[in-house]
């Protein structure tokens, strides 16, 4: 019996009428179950009876006009069963009878679970749409057993048919979707979805240059497919529907019907963004409860995905050459996918078989608080170990053997610390891939030709840093594409290759990570920047500033690079956002530029925020840690260098610049500290106009410290970024340089004079 393309009425009538729901009666299901059990696997290839029964089952939709009892659960069970049977039909299961029995069990379960609307648990009381959507893939995924049939009806073989567009029509009706999913499951799904989307994005970009890359197509397909499967299980209908439509598009690429380039690639990327948007929203819904706002273009996107050609989307220059065997190929593809769906959860833990990267590494997901706990414990172990090693009883020649053993233990402890620290490290690869995507999008939007070359993607950084770094990098890449790289004709006139190059590099350098962004564009225009700064009153007219200081002006808030560097208007991406982002990471950013040749932004970052290089200083009886990276220099001032502005603000002249003096002991009310700058030390922190000289009693030396939160609600203390356990086991506060410079500017010399510590006795 040949399979006809499924009429649209099965899943819903496009337009105003609500889709109807299939009603699985117990009798039908029981019959199906028994049929499945009796079915001879060898005859499965000619499963006409079975097919008829599916048809009947789904056909009941029409006989149930009021759409009352249609538990989604049942629809799902039947879908699942259908997948298994499909695998048998295509000869893809090792043990067909086992698979059939499993399918039978599923159907039987569906039959048992047959319930009246009143006793269906609420989360399965579906709004009419979800069920319709669940039924649509079920209908679509039923393959006709004979390839000829499928060839006769290509619409049925490749998934986009009337169904998705019907679904799209109904999606337009509602823009808010209520989420009711178990938190744990939802979080797991979101984690997995994020991974899949990232991989899919990477593969789509690969496909643009290498459209024939099978691995890449498979990766994208699998990503959409897995998301579809799991989101269906969680009742996340909008996600399911979008993933399904995207999968349909990819299945055509997979069947070599289309090449995933040009318009198709854009479409796939749009779908990917849509999914990401939905996932991000889901992440924000609390405890799995909440609503999902469906973007306005959701329905249109679904429609495009279903029939790209009808929306004027094509592969661009790429030729469309449907292979003669297209229909035949599509069947195993669908079945493989069904297969992959079951295998995927395992793969999430060990993505060794994921496309592209053939790595044998096996991964385990670990909660970050456990990692942090481990790091805490190891840090404490290091201190405890060094206490033992320095114990007086060990001194003297009699204890040499014991000393040797303790030294050995110390070595292991330090190794352990390195290892524990490295657990938090992740390569920059994912971030760089994201940048490739952004460069591509901006280039398209601004009609520029450019290439993003990345290098050093394997450079590892602390996970927290990597996440935060992405945002400033996005701004910088956008700026480089938009303002840095010239349009092709301008480049040609300037004698440069039409295609601009942006290079994104990462390297380890002396305990830090350097991230550099080179572009071979027009470079920064020093004169314009300076003129603008004078106009804004940021610098005085006759001030002589170095090139680097001039370039650094673009980091000032409200200093629109657009007006200065190019004449493009309407862009307000402030570079101040970039600098603030980098500063938050204890990093530094510097600019080199040559007009007409290009610009280089270099960012220097600590490898991790968990461990920081600090300068230990003493103020009174307290010790503080200042991140070494923030310190410009330390000096003891001469008498003549000190001055007062208007009798209040203390200033010090240093290298021809006058800096405000910030008295930490006053701001933090530390008793018995050095008052006279001539007897203490001044530490210059901050850059450019924000620099200040902080007065401390003395330097105690440099030390690597493990950065910890102060615990409880002791956050947001101005000037303090955290605490660290010092070598003697006591806690020292880590100063926040940007907070200190802020305090210095708001009250120079820390002269508020308030006593913040009213507690008379402080156990010390």
């Amino acid at each position: 019996m040949s399979k006809k393309p499924r009429p649209a009425e099965h899943t819903g009538v496009p337009g105003t009428e609500r889709p109807r729901l299939p009603d699985y009666s117990t009798a039908d299901l029981a019959q199906l179950a028994s049929l499945l059990i009796q079915l001879d696997p060898s005859e499965a290839r000619d499963a006409a009876d079975l097919n008829a029964l599916w048809e009947a089952l789904l056909g009941r939709a029409e006989k149930n006009p009021d759409g009352s009892a249609a538990p989604l659960l049942l629809a799902r069970l039947v879908m699942e069963a259908a997948d298994r049977v499909e695998a048998v039909i295509l000869g893809q299961t090792g043990d067909p009878s086992e698979a059939l029995a499993a399918a039978a069990r599923l159907v039987a379960a569906a039959a048992d679970g047959q319930c009246t609307p009143s006793n269906i648990p609420e989360q399965f009381q579906p709004a009419p749409q979800p069920t319709a959507a669940a039924a649509a893939p079920a209908a679509a995924s039923l393959p006709g057993p004979q390839p000829t049939a499928a060839a006769a009806a290509p619409a049925a073989a490749s998934l986009p048919g009337p169904q998705p567009s019907a679904a799209a029509a109904t999606a337009a009706a509602s823009t808010v979707f209520n989420v009711t999913a178990e938190v744990e499951l939802l979080n797991e799904f979101l984690d997995e979805a994020r991974d899949h989307l990232a991989k899919a994005e990477q593969s789509l970009l690969t496909l643009e240059t290498h459209p024939e890359e099978r691995d890449a197509i498979d990766t994208v397909f699998r990503a959409f497919h897995t998301i579809k499967g799991v989101s269906g299980f969680l009742d996340l209908t909008p996600v399911t529907r979008l993933a399904h439509s995207a999968e349909s598009l990819l299945s055509r690429a997979r069947d070599r019907e289309i090449l995933c380039t040009g318009g198709y690639a854009n479409l796939a990327l749009r779908a990917l963004d849509g999914l990401r948007n939905l996932c991000e929203q889901l992440q924000r819904t609390h405890a799995g409860q909440g609503s999902l706002r469906i973007p306005a273009d959701h329905a249109e996107l679904l429609a495009c995905l279903a029939e790209p050609e009808a929306h004027g989307i094509g592969a661009g220059a790429a030729e469309r050459a449907p292979l003669p065997s297209a229909a035949k190929v599509s069947l195993p593809a669908a079945a493989q996918a069904a297969h992959a769906e079951h295998a995927e959860p395992a793969a999430a833990a060990g993505p060794a078989r994921e496309g592209g990267e053939k790595q044998a590494d096996i991964f385990v997901r670990v909660r970050t608080d456990r990692l942090d706990g481990l790091l805490d414990a190891v840090g404490e172990l290091v201190i405890a170990q060094s206490m033992v090693a320095q114990d007086d009883t060990l001194a003297g020649p009699q204890r040499i053997e014991l000393q040797r053993k303790i030294a050995h233990a110390g070595k292991i402890v330090r190794e352990l610390q390195d290892l524990a620290t490295s657990l938090r490290m992740v390569p920059l690869r994912a971030t760089f891939k994201k940048m490739e995507r952004i460069a591509r999008d901006v280039a398209l939007k601004t009609n520029k030709l450019l290439e993003l070359v990345t290098d050093g993607e394997d450079t590892e950084l602390d996970r927290n840093l990597v996440d935060v770094l992405a945002e400033p990098l996005v701004h910088m890449i956008r700026n480089a594409c938009d303002h840095g790289i010239e349009p092709p004709d301008e480049r040609r006139r300037a004698g440069k290759p039409e295609r601009g190059t942006i290079r994104l590099l990462a390297t380890h350098r002396g305990g830090h990570v350097m991230v550099e962004l080179h572009d071979d564009g027009r470079g920064l225009n020093r004169e314009k920047i300076v003129a603008k700064a004078i106009e804004r009153g940021l610098i005085s007219r006759d001030e002589q500033i170095s090139d680097s200081d001039a370039y650094a002006l673009i980091f000032k808030p409200g200093f629109s690079t657009a007006e200065v560097v190019t004449d493009l208007s309407g862009r307000g991406v402030g570079m101040d956002v970039v600098q603030r982002g980098i500063a938050k990471l204890d990093g530094r950013i510097a600019i080199r530029s040559e007009q007409g040749k290009g610009t280089v932004f270099s960012i220097r970052l600590p490898v991790t925020l968990a461990i920081t290089d600090g300068m230990l200083v003493r103020v009174g009886a307290e010790r503080f840690i200042i991140p070494t990276l923030a310190i410009t220099t330390t000096f003891r001032p001469k008498d003549t260098a000190l001055s007062r502005v208007l009798g209040a603000g203390e200033m010090v002249l240093f290298r021809d610049r006058s800096l405000p003096i910030f008295r930490l002991h006053r701001a933090f009310a530390v008793p018995a500290a050095v008052e006279d700058p001539l007897r203490g030390l001044l530490i210059v922190i901050g850059e450019g106009s924000e620099a200040c000289a902080m007065l401390v009693d003395e330097l105690l030396g440099q030390q690597q410290v493990v950065v910890k939160a102060l615990g409880g609600g002791l956050r947001d203390i101005e000037g303090v970024s955290g605490g660290a356990i010092l070598r003697d086991g006591r806690v020292g506060l880590i100063l926040d340089p940007s907070g200190i410079t802020r305090m210095a500017r708001s009250s120079p010399s820390g002269s508020t004079g308030d006593t913040f510590f009213a507690t008379p006795e402080r156990a010390a």
Partner: protein, 167 residues
């Protein structure tokens, strides 16, 4: 049988159980033993600037930094120089730990519900809302502290969202 005190989270029956008692000045106080994680001697405390006066600072509890509250200061008593007996009771709330400085820890008592009375009202100038009730044991009065309420009012206990690393 005492009536349920309106602003006490616990019923009289729930209030009965084991209490860790300690001295604060002349009075003896009790904290439900289940809230107590451990008792440690007075460690060097690092001050934290710009915090309320009853926050002594932070200590290193086996590699973890936890804040320490001076219970005397918190309850409006005058503060006292540390003695040999001064110690820190580490209490746990949600996933957060916090140290509470007390003058001297005494014992663990099993206080029955019949021995607990609700705290009397003294008018506006004495706030008894931080008391679960008043326990009487062997003729002695123990003030049973609602330690959760005390600590919540420090502003240090927030919903357990603390992301430890990026302070």
């Amino acid at each position: 049988m005492s009536t349920r005190e309106p602003n006490s989270p616990a019923t009289p029956d729930a209030r009965s159980g084991k209490y860790l008692t300690f001295h604060l000045g002349a009075e003896e106080y009790g904290i439900e033993i289940l809230k107590v994680q451990e008792i440690i001697g007075l460690l060097p405390i690092t001050m934290v600037p710009n915090t309320p006066h009853f926050i002594r600072g932070i200590i290193n509890l086996r590699g973890k930094i936890i804040p320490v509250v001076d219970l005397r200061a918190k309850l409006g008593m005058e503060t006292l120089a540390a003695s040999n007996e001064t110690c820190i009771v580490v209490v746990r709330r949600h996933t957060m730990e916090m140290g509470v400085v007390v003058d001297r820890v005494k014992e663990v008592l099993d206080i029955k519900s019949t021995e607990i009375e609700h705290a009397p009202e003294f008018g506006a100038h004495v706030d008894t809302s931080c008391l679960l009730g008043i326990g009487k044991h062997n003729g002695q009065v123990k003030l049973l502290l609602d330690i959760d309420r005390v600590l919540d009012s420090t502003g240090l206990m927030q919903a357990p969202t603390a992301g430890p690393e990026t302070a």
